[in-house]
């Protein structure tokens, strides 16, 4: 934009002081004003009437200044003084004043300047004078507004990303968090990250934040953290360095994304894979049994041995029975949808299940006992049929384990009901031989069977699925009596959707 200065008061022959010539300036001020010509800023001397008495070279060059113009004409193309003009205030207080204003530069258009109005100690011909020095801060202001925009963008990103973000110092102390973090983990500023995320009293090992502090690189890991509600959450964690101007990492940003649903799906897929492998194995066993039975029958007929024929037919019958059980288990494992809820009395449920096994246990000389702890007998919401199956599976396993004790008996099986405030706990303990050493590690991960042809191997998968559908846990541990304790924990308030992640399909306690 090109601007031609207008002067409402053009004079034929301006007075020397109005021409802004240095000759009109008092002797003592000349040296100082000459120096102002060297400045890249705009400098001018104005009179009390706002007439520009003198202007430096930069101002003359950029503003196209005609001496004698009023300052408001030069700066704003106005005909009247500006409303916010500090001149009178400076004149009355005698103190300089600094302010920001935008002025018209005929060469470049509107520019932003930082101005200082200073009362001069000496007067020009027409009394008191003022020195106005204005520095172009347009570029600085542009940078500042870019910085502000970046800050807003950064804040929007920091607050808007679907991640829990915390910034930690070298002592693992949290110095900044985003809103999502605060919602899930509460107020954490000043607390140690391991304390907030995991409820620990010392740092994790390995710690991705520490690794980033050491090598200044981005690291990632998968962790199980704890919400402020106490509920566990599986997260993938990225740690990135925050460096100072010298490249030293002074803080580390930790970004965590929840992957609980992904991990749950992963476990379900793994469990499905296991179930398929187990089913194939069971079918192989069934076919082997049927094959063997058919062979025995054929051989018995050749030998004319009715007893052996009977044995062969029993083998075939066993195979058919096992196929039926396998089919039932497959249907249970593949069942979808939420469990059908009803009010269940934990003690009554335990009594029902235990009564099913009394005869079998008695025939095998195994002592079967129900113990209740808590004596509340409050009902809880659950799927009666499902939990009945789950408990029956565990009880059946325990009796089988004791049955193998033989002369080392007598076998003892306890079904315990612990009624706690938040959860109902069913415990099945046996004094059987425990889990065979050579398969201990894999038994619960792979759900293998020790029952040869008798078990489908799906029993624990079925039980685990039912328990997890109730938001509960299935755990096992060695019993002090030498056998095994299986424990089902069901929350009194139904929790669905796999809110409780587990390390594997079934966890050992």
């Amino acid at each position: 934009m090109f601007w031609t200065p207008v002067s409402p008061k053009k004079k034929e022959a301006p007075e020397p002081e109005e021409r802004g010539e240095i000759a009109n300036v008092p002797e003592e001020a000349r040296g100082g004003l000459s120096l102002l010509n060297l400045l890249p800023s705009y400098a001018c001397v104005v009179s009390g009437e706002r007439t520009v008495l003198w202007a430096n070279k930069a101002m003359k060059r950029d503003m196209g200044l005609v001496p004698g113009m009023r300052c408001f004409e030069v700066h704003w193309l106005r005909e009247e003084p500006c409303g916010e003009c500090p001149l009178e205030m400076v004149a009355s207080t005698g103190k300089s004043f600094c302010w920001e204003q935008s002025i018209e530069n005929p060469q470049t258009g509107k520019i932003q300047v930082l101005s200082q109005l200073i009362p001069l100690p000496w007067g020009f011909a027409r009394g008191r004078c003022f020195l106005e020095i204005s520095t172009d801060v347009t570029l600085f202001k542009r940078r500042q507004s870019q910085l502000e925009l970046s800050q807003r963008e950064y804040k929007a990103l920091f607050e808007g990303v679907p991640c829990y973000i915390s910034v930690q110092d070298r002592d693992f102390r949290i110095i900044k968090t985003n809103g999502l973090f605060q919602k899930e983990f509460g107020r954490a500023i000043g607390r140690k990250c391991y304390e907030v995320y995991k409820g620990r009293d010392k740092k994790c090992d390995p710690c991705p934040v520490e690794r980033t502090f050491v090598d200044g690189q981005i690291h990632f890991s998968e962790e199980t953290v704890r919400r402020r509600s106490g509920e566990p959450m599986e997260v993938v964690v990225y740690t990135a360095p925050i460096k100072d101007n010298w490249g030293t990492t002074y803080a580390v940003m930790e970004m965590s994304t929840e992957i609980t649903p992904v991990k749950t799906l992963q476990r379900e897929l793994a469990s499905l894979g296991q179930a398929v492998a187990i089913t194939a194995h069971s079918i192989k066993n069934i076919l082997g049994g049927l094959d063997g039975g058919a062979y025995v029958v054929r051989s018995a007929l050749r030998r004319n041995d009715p007893e052996l024929t009977e044995k062969g037919l029993s083998m075939i019958q066993e195979g058919v029975e096992m196929a039926r059980r396998l089919l039932q288990d497959i249907l249970l494992v593949s069942r979808h949808g939420r469990p059908k809820l009803e009010d269940i009395s934990p003690v009554n449920l335990a009594l029902e299940v235990i009564s099913l096994f009394q005869k079998r246990a008695g025939d095998l000389g195994i002592e079967l006992q129900l113990e209740t702890i808590g004596e509340r007998n409050l009902t809880f919401r659950g799927d009666h049929k499902g939990l009945h199956t789950a408990l029956a599976n565990l009880l059946s396993n325990a009796i089988d384990a004791c049955a193998s004790l033989g002369a080392q008996g007598p076998g003892k099986v306890f079904l315990r009901v612990h009624e706690l405030e938040e959860v109902v706990c069913f415990q099945v303990e046996d004094n059987g031989p425990g889990v065979p050493e050579e398969i201990k590690e894999k038994l619960f991960r792979e759900m293998v069977t020790t029952k040869g042809n008798a078990g489908t191997g799906l029993g624990l998968i079925v039980t685990n699925k039912i328990v997890r559908e109730h938001g509960g846990h299935l755990r096992y541990r060695s019993s002090p009596r030498g056998g095994t304790i299986f424990e089902i924990m069901i929350p009194r308030k139904p929790v669905f959707g796999e809110k409780y992640p587990e390390q594997t399909g079934l966890s050992s306690g």
């Binding site: 094959d291 063997g292 062979y295 025995v296 052996l308 193998s404 033989g406 065979p436």
Partner: protein, 132 residues
């Protein structure tokens, strides 16, 4: 059955021992069965079988323990043992490497259930030939 070779079958599943015994008897062997691994050792000491067919996963005592007991008994150590097991495919390698790490002795053969009759009979023949 004067000259018939004696085969001891140790498996906790009666249907399996019935099947294997019938199969072996049909092929001229004298089959003896033990469903209880604890009794099996005594029976083996009494019978001195020519070959032992041994299951690995049995509830009372594992086949591995029985295998080691037989191996440590000098009077039985010469009897070839054929492992016949129904363990899962993914665990078979673990057992194979376990047995190959043994210094004292190793099973003569390792067969998976369901048993293929020809394969079993072949291994029994081979084991007898190896001893003789």
């Amino acid at each position: 059955m004067g000259g018939a070779k004696r085969i001891m079958i140790v498996d906790d599943e009666p249907s399996m021992t019935t099947y294997l015994a019938t199969l072996l008897e049909d092929h001229g062997y004298e089959a003896h069965c033990a469903n209880d691994p604890e009794e099996a050792l005594e029976r083996i000491r009494d019978l001195r079988p020519d070959v032992i067919l041994l299951d690995l996963l049995m509830p009372k005592k594992s086949g591995v323990t029985l295998f080691q007991k037989i191996s440590r008994d000098e009077s039985l150590a010469h009897i070839p043992i054929i492992v016949v097991t129904g363990i899962h495919d993914h665990m078979i390698e673990d057992f194979r490497s376990f047995f190959s790490s043994l210094k004292l002795r190793r099973p003569f053969a390792f067969l998976e259930k369901p048993v293929v009759p020809e394969e079993l009979l072949g291994k029994v023949r081979e084991s007898l030939a190896a001893v003789n």
